[in-house]
Subunit: 246 residues, 2 copies
């Protein structure tokens, strides 16, 4: 028996998110099906994190156990022949039998992608949130800076959370522009349910001048979901980097 | 009766190309249906150019005639409410009654998009052709330079062409890189069936070292489709700019 770690990249457009569901297509469900087929034994992956319906990932992580003889590094190319073309395995490798992806210290980077001009080409519609009016990035970056560090992010968490604590640490946020594209890049050791999307919605409102620059910080201090901005749409969000720190 | 010119942007992934077909979804078919619905009278557009199945456009042009009272510039936002979200009207304006989009001198720019690294994220799979091995852009640009100007492009034209002449003029070609993305940008006054995709296939073979730098020029002189490289896949191609020159 060996434990295999896989790095998964997916276009979330056609999926009801990561987590397995009986009656809907999910990333976890497709991985289980393809792995069970590949190794000819029932396999269930353990994911390191979940994403909502429509959210994308460049590097999500999962492990599974198998008795199959295939070398772990050969799993990636072999599994790609079994998966739909909107899910790709970037690499695969063997890890220790007790390696649990949710019990490790990890740092993740999410990117929230905004198309910031009057016209958005239809080719990018599933990957960008369209904001027509020009965003003021200085205001957004100033507001974002107040969120860096260890805080109670209750205001930036869906009320449907099941987390024990809403304290999290953000290690970096920056907002930058490349032509019509505005990216909000957020790194941290862990994130609450909808946290990056609520941060994005709050910063977008600030960048449009609908809120004061101090709004993001004031919202943080109130520890109340009502105090922060709206949850930005799922399709703009990408889980971009995933690092195991130990 | 007035003639309206519309600029159309579309994601060609789900369409069997531009041209109307009885039993398949096409861009022209969707435009006719939406305009007929919008103006409550039977409408058929006249397109300025056609694209194959899977090819995209940022600015394709078409005209149509209508008796409806709606000001021409209001057509774009109104029509967008009737169209599927992978087709968008960028703008609309009234033109003279005898303005025919295929009888005008025009210059078009196509871009052929290549994802040039070992791993291609699934989010871009419908918009880039994946070439894993590193392309040599110096070789590609040198080969491309020989195609600039007025030539008989018979070698760079599908044998299924219906064109009277295969002489065309290319006003510019360049190949450039942005990270993992390599773009082949081709401008000219008119293009033959599959011309840009055959140029792309030929330059890719040259960039991979499968062909000599002189191959593109030699192929041109042979006036024989067999002499040039393969037709690169449709999904990498975008009709990027369309200019009426008179």
């Amino acid at each position: 028996m060996k434990r295999v770690l896989i790095c998964v990249s997916y276009d979330g457009t056609s999926y009801s998110g990561w987590q397995y569901q009986n009656n809907a297509r999910t990333i976890e469900g497709e991985l289980n099906k393809a792995l069970t087929n590949l190794h000819s034994e029932p396999i269930e992956v353990i994911g390191a994190s979940r994403t909502d319906a429509g959210v994308h990932a460049l590097s999500a992580m999962a492990v599974y156990d198998t008795n199959a003889g295939m070398p772990a590094d050969k799993v990636a190319p072999a599994l790609n022949t079994k998966l739909p073309d909107d899910i790709r395995i970037v690499w695969s490798k063997e890890v220790e039998a007790d390696f649990h992806p949710r019990h490790r210290l990890t740092e993740k980077t999410y990117e929230y992608n905004i198309w910031n001009s009057e016209f958005m080409p239809p080719m990018v519609r599933n990957y960008y949130y369209h904001v027509e009016k020009e965003l003021n990035l200085d205001r957004m970056n100033e507001a974002a800076a107040a969120l860096i560090g260890k805080h109670d992010f209750k205001s930036y968490c869906s009320v449907h959370t099941t987390a024990d604590t809403t304290v999290r640490e953000i290690t970096g946020i920056c907002v930058y522009r490349e032509g019509s594209q505005v990216m909000i890049k957020v790194s941290g050791y862990g994130f609450l349910y909808n946290m990056v999307r609520i941060i994005a919605g709050t910063l977008i409102d600030t960048g449009l001048g609908r809120r004061e620059v101090s709004f993001a910080k004031d919202a943080l201090e109130k520890c109340d979901r009502q105090a922060a901005g709206p949850t930005a749409p799922a399709n703009g969000l990408v889980l971009k980097e995933f690092r195991f720190l130990e």
